[in-house]
């Protein structure tokens, strides 16, 4: 079986985790794609750490407002009922436990729930931005990532080697191979994307993976 990277499957699966009214923060990059797949009958309140609840879609060309961006600095809109606030309030919302789900990108994630995504010493130091507060404060932390690095190594590890963004905070990891729950220092493969099989996934991931009896294929 050949592995074909598929970011959309990751975003589609994550988008179905939420319930109407959940307060959700989507990170920049792959996590932002999740917004494209939220079912129509599920209205979320998207939090953007630069100071907004009710993050809306990108504006039409020519309608951009230079005062209204997402955390990546890209123009966005605000949904009806949304509001703005300063950075202290924004992180009060985040750190204070008022965000239900945060979805973040990954350099490495391990079976203890540790996440590394802000620094490759000596090479690339983008900084943690709001990620450390988001992982500390959000009720559920979802790590979203392609399963493999370009080198072919799995991003799911026994132990992260890069500087950590979050210590034992990750609850779910969704890759283009499956959905993993972090529990008791192990990954539980709850769902997998066909045509891959649980055994195929387990054999190619350098981490302890449990395949429970009710492990099932993802159905959209």
């Amino acid at each position: 079986m050949e592995y074909v990277a598929n970011k959309d499957n990751i975003a589609r699966r994550i988008a179905r985790i939420f319930k109407p009214g959940n307060v959700v923060n989507l990170g920049i990059g792959l996590p932002t794609l999740v917004g494209n797949y939220v079912p129509e009958d599920v209205t979320l309140i998207l939090q953007s750490e630069n100071g907004m609840l009710g993050l809306g879609p990108a504006p039409a060309k020519g309608e951009e407002n230079r005062d209204l961006t997402n955390a990546g600095g890209a123009p966005v809109t605000i949904a009806p009922g949304g509001c703005y606030f300063d950075s202290a309030m924004s992180f009060g919302i985040i750190r204070g436990g008022h965000v239900d789900y945060t979805v973040l990108g990954v350099l490495e994630v391990d079976q203890e729930g540790n996440l590394a995504n802000y620094k490759i010493p000596g090479k690339m130091v983008p900084g943690m931005g709001g990620a450390m507060d988001l992982t500390t404060g959000s009720r559920v932390v979802i790590a979203a990532t392609l399963h493999f690095e370009p080198s072919g190594a799995s991003r799911l590890k026994r132990r992260c080697t890069l500087p950590l963004t979050a210590v034992r905070e990750v609850n779910l990891v969704v890759t283009d191979l499956g959905l993993f729950e972090v529990m008791g220092n192990r990954f539980f493969l709850r769902e997998y994307f066909e045509p891959y099989t649980p055994e195929w996934i387990k054999a190619r991931t350098d981490a302890e993976i449990i395949i429970p009896n009710d492990c099932r294929p993802v159905v959209f």
Binding site: E49, A71, Y84, D86, S87, F91, V125, M132
Partner: protein
């Protein structure tokens, strides 16, 4: 009500002295005082310490530079305290070359440290960063059965901030997500200059709508450059 002086951007830039700690409002250049930044870039004051959410954009390939990235490009900072520098390749280069000392602070901690500096707190206790490199060299304090990091206040010699609207008393209104760190920095520096897109007479802004009270503001600058 005492009126605050409306000064030029170059007069504002001249208030920043060699070696100062400088706070600059804005988030990825949204809500940054672009007019004053341009004047300070032209003046070229050096050895500054920057306290800002990020260092804007600097794309070495396209040459696109935004926000405080212009000051980074002219190497006006000796030290940078920020939460994110990922979109500024020049900052990245200066770190790797050992030219600039960059301290990364989690964004929520940065906001609270600036707030603490402005509101007279001796520090804040936060769980953010426990068990990571952020913890190194910091005091861990137990409250009940939970651990927290003691994070110390941040203050600056000068804060340069940006508002949508100001009245002559210095009362400020921000727009949309351009608010971000501006109201926090307005309270945390010895000298605060606010650049505003519109400067109106005292009484023209509904007191209910004011985000930052004018007492924090020392001078106003009419914004001319709204992006950059």
């Amino acid at each position: 009500m005492l009126q605050k002086p409306v000064i030029s951007a170059s007069e504002a830039a001249a208030k920043v002295r060699e070696g100062d700690a400088l706070m600059v409002g804005g988030f990825m250049a949204c809500g940054s005082p672009h007019t004053i930044i341009q004047a300070l870039t032209e003046k070229g004051t050096r050895n500054l310490t920057l306290i800002c959410n990020d260092t804007g954009v600097h794309d070495l390939k396209s040459g696109r530079v935004t926000g405080v990235g212009h000051l980074v490009q002219k190497r006006q900072f000796r030290k940078i305290i920020a939460s994110h520098i990922g979109l500024n390749q020049e900052t990245q280069r200066q770190i790797n070359a050992g030219e600039t000392d960059v301290t990364l602070v989690p964004q929520g901690t940065l906001a609270e440290r600036v707030r603490a500096g402005g509101v007279g707190l001796g520090g804040i206790l936060t769980p953010t960063g426990l068990g990571t490199e952020v913890e190194e060299g910091k005091q861990v304090i137990t409250v009940g059965d939970r651990l927290f990091l003691l994070e110390l206040p941040l203050k600056a010699d000068v804060a340069l901030i940006k508002a949508k609207k100001a009245d002559r008393a210095g009362n400020l209104v921000y727009a949309d997500t351009a608010r971000n760190f501006n109201p926090l920095m307005a309270m945390a520096a010895s000298l605060v200059v606010a650049e505003a897109e519109e400067i109106v007479e005292v009484g023209e802004i509904d007191p209910n709508a004011i985000h930052t009270p004018g007492i924090f503001i020392d001078a106003l600058v009419q914004a001319e450059r709204l992006e950059g």
